[in-house]
């Protein structure tokens, strides 16, 4: 019962790969946008904030549909990327990673933004007077002090990416070995007469991965907290 078939393994490993790639690629953008939203005032800030958060409130199917229009083979951006850079998203695992990254992005930005806002601007001023330019102020003061929030943002994005279903299946369909993630595989097995056991196994795997991610993030956040404010 507890050993996975090759097809199930494929779905699990694919899901992990998609979630890891989506989170890793999203992280630098997430930190940059969270910093902009937390520390800067500029024209169009409300719009940027809205666009970033849109996937959180839109039906996932709509997000997937928009991705299909923009990044599909004949989409404006998709055609450009395919012709000039050879990057294809449509019906590839890269497309699944894009969809998962987009869906997880608002959760990541929210967590990081809150933690950057919580960093005392007076410490950044002090660092500035001690000879640090803007970038070094960010790298040596803001970023390390915001670390617990960044960890939280990474875990939220990863969890969202791992469980994403609607946007992914709309954008890149449900192709075993290419775009069939754990969620899509579970859905497929529940639709097949003899698939109950497989669905249950994959559900257990999903629960296990989520638990491990949660525990790891708690542990990391506590370590970061001790490092930041610790007695010692």
């Amino acid at each position: 019962m507890l050993s996975l078939s090759p097809d199930e393994w494929t779905a699990v490993l694919l899901s992990l790969r998609i979630a890891v790639v989506a989170t890793t690629v999203a992280l630098p953008f997430g930190i940059a946008i969270a910093w902009l939203l937390a520390r800067k005032d500029f024209w169009g800030k409300a719009l940027l904030d809205g666009v970033v958060h849109l996937p959180l409130v839109l039906p996932p199917v709509v997000t997937g549909y928009l991705l299909l229009i923009a990044f599909g083979r004949r989409g404006v951006i998709g055609a450009f990327l395919a012709d000039w850079l050879g990057i294809v998203f449509a019906f590839r695992w890269t497309g699944a990673a894009l969809a998962c990254g987009v869906m997880g992005f608002p959760l990541m930005v929210r967590a990081i933004r809150l933690s950057i806002e919580a960093v005392d601007g007076k410490l950044e001023d002090a660092s500035w007077t001690l000879g640090a330019n803007r970038f070094l102020v960010f790298a040596t003061i803001t970023l390390p002090l915001a670390l617990p929030g960044i960890i939280a943002g990474v875990v939220l994005c990863f969890a969202k990416a791992l469980g994403e279903f609607g946007a992914t299946i709309t954008f890149v369909s449900n192709i075993p070995g290419e775009t069939q993630t754990i969620s899509a595989a579970i859905y497929t097995y529940t639709q097949t007469p003899s698939g109950d056991a497989a669905a249950a196994r994959l559900a257990l795997v999903a629960i296990a991965i989520s638990l491990v991610a949660l525990i790891a993030s708690e542990w990391l956040a506590r370590r970061a907290d001790i490092r930041l404010h610790g007695v010692g």
């Binding site: 005392d120 007076k122 410490l123 001023d125 002090a126 660092s127 500035w128 007077t129 001690l130 000879g131 640090a132 330019n133 070094l136 040596t140 003061i141 390390p144 002090l145 490092r227 930041l228 404010h229 610790g230 007695v231 010692g232």
Partner: protein
């Protein structure tokens, strides 16, 4: 020599000051809310004046008309804040070394050891700011500002957040600072403190300079917590 001639509107409060300082310790003396901290924030580059200029010797730090404004990290000013502002994620040793690293200055172990000894903080080096006393924190903040080898040292009410016992603890270290060669600007509303530390006084009232000179600018009615 520092030359300040600036104007700044802060809400309903208008700040308009003109003064020069020489070597030694110049006190910016005046009641709370008279604009002293805003003045040194403009000197440090943390606050941008609306009009005027700030020069240090021949170096132009700020000139509104000429569009010159050197950022804080190019001014080489050591700033001791009222609330210390030590970095909580670094040890005391890393805090002390921060300015030297950011300014890419060579290590000078002898100078470092001298300042650590002067401020009596050698036993704190491996600790985190979170578990230092207020007085210890302020001594580390002074050391951190000195170790970046500043051209000018700004001290903003370094005793204000401390109780009377802690003030008495820090004062001797501040008096030792007078023997350093770096010129200093010492912000305080506390006459007894200013009297003991400053070599020149600029009196600030309600956003304007109302006197430049020596101890005669201090009224006799000020409190004697340091006496």
């Amino acid at each position: 020599m520092l030359t300040v001639d600036v104007e700044k509107q802060l809400g309903a409060f208008a700040l308009r000051v003109k003064f020069e300082t020489r070597d030694g310790v110049t006190a910016l003396f005046g009641p709370s809310g008279s604009g002293k901290t805003s003045i040194i924030n403009m000197v440090a580059g943390l606050l941008t004046p609306d009009r005027g200029r700030i020069m240090f010797g021949p170096t132009l730090w700020f000139d509104a008309a000429g569009g010159v404004s050197a950022p804080p990290h190019r001014r080489g000013i050591g700033y001791v804040f009222q609330d210390g502002r030590l970095f909580p994620h670094m040890t005391v040793a890393h805090n002390l070394d921060y300015g030297r690293r950011m300014y890419r200055l060579p290590r000078e172990p002898d100078e470092q050891a001298r300042i650590v000894a002067m401020l009596d903080i050698a036993h704190l080096l491996e600790r985190r700011p979170g578990n230092l006393s207020g007085g210890e924190r302020q001594r580390v903040a002074i050391g951190r500002a000195l170790l970046m080898r500043p051209r000018l040292l700004l001290l903003d009410e370094p005793l204000a957040s401390l109780d009377a016992a802690r003030k008495r603890e820090i004062l001797p270290y501040l008096l030792r600072l007078r023997d350093e060669t770096v010129p200093m600007i010492y912000v305080s509303h506390h006459a007894a403190e200013v009297k003991r530390i400053a070599t020149a006084i600029v009196r600030i009232d309600n956003g304007s300079v109302t006197g430049i000179g020596g101890a005669e600018l201090l009224s006799t009615a000020d409190d004697d917590a340091l006496a």
